[in-house]
Symmetry: C2
Subunit: 136 residues, 2 copies
């Protein structure tokens, strides 16, 4: 993830303690944390870090494509540091846990031209829903 910090700097972004901590927290466990969970873990390392900074930093990482936002429902967005390989998400309807999954085939190919209504279609996001072992 120091690569990420390097890439951020190449874009002219300042390297601050706050940004470093957010990057480390996200990279630490490969789970999909909410912004507030990131904040809670960041506070453990840098007690003064504010919620607004966490939101700003996550937003910056998303905008350069290093992190992917996962909007699983009406719940809080989660942040996925595994942006380097295409994948989809499996979400537990009970507890909201998110897992990365790799279905076969390209979901884009399933949409015929006649169903594109003149759109320039660039991506397909698939969300599988169900109950995890703990919730079922």
């Amino acid at each position: 993830m120091s690569d990420l910090l390097e890439r951020l700097r190449e874009r002219g972004w300042r390297l601050t303690a706050q940004r470093r901590v957010v990057a480390e927290v996200l990279d630490g466990d490969h789970v999909h944390l909410t912004a507030d969970e990131v904040h809670a873990r960041a506070i453990a390392r840098l007690p003064e870090i504010s919620r607004a900074t966490v939101y700003n930093t996550l937003g910056e990482m998303v905008s350069i494509g290093e992190v992917v936002e996962v909007a699983t429902d009406g719940r809080a967005k989660r942040y996925d540091p595994n942006a380097h390989r295409p994948h989809q998400h499996l979400v537990c309807s009970g507890c909201g846990t998110v897992r990365d999954v790799h279905p076969h085939g390209d979901p884009l190919a399933a949409l015929p031209a006649a169903e594109r209504f003149g759109f320039t279609v660039s991506a397909a996001e698939v969300t599988y829903r169900g109950l995890c072992p703990d919730c079922s």
Copy 2:
């Protein structure tokens, strides 16, 4: 949509003016309205109807499967009255317009058992993203 009201009644639900109006509004235009948009249109017909009732009624319709919730972004959920036939959604990244689309194949079939992690997977939602003719 009077079918819907009938089905609601068969479930032992009372037929009230409020529920009738929400059903009519949703059925009126086949667009994907947010709860507040439904509320605004319902008020035009029944000025005293409250926001809470609109939320309750939409929730009931979702729970019996007559209406589908669509969460296209982190913003307000939209309600899709076209629940009688399986379909997916094509969202314009520019203006947010949502269109119903019908890809071939079953997206659930693309997820092998080894990628299900013990979940009981019950549904797959596909969101295609791109730019509509007006925005591209």
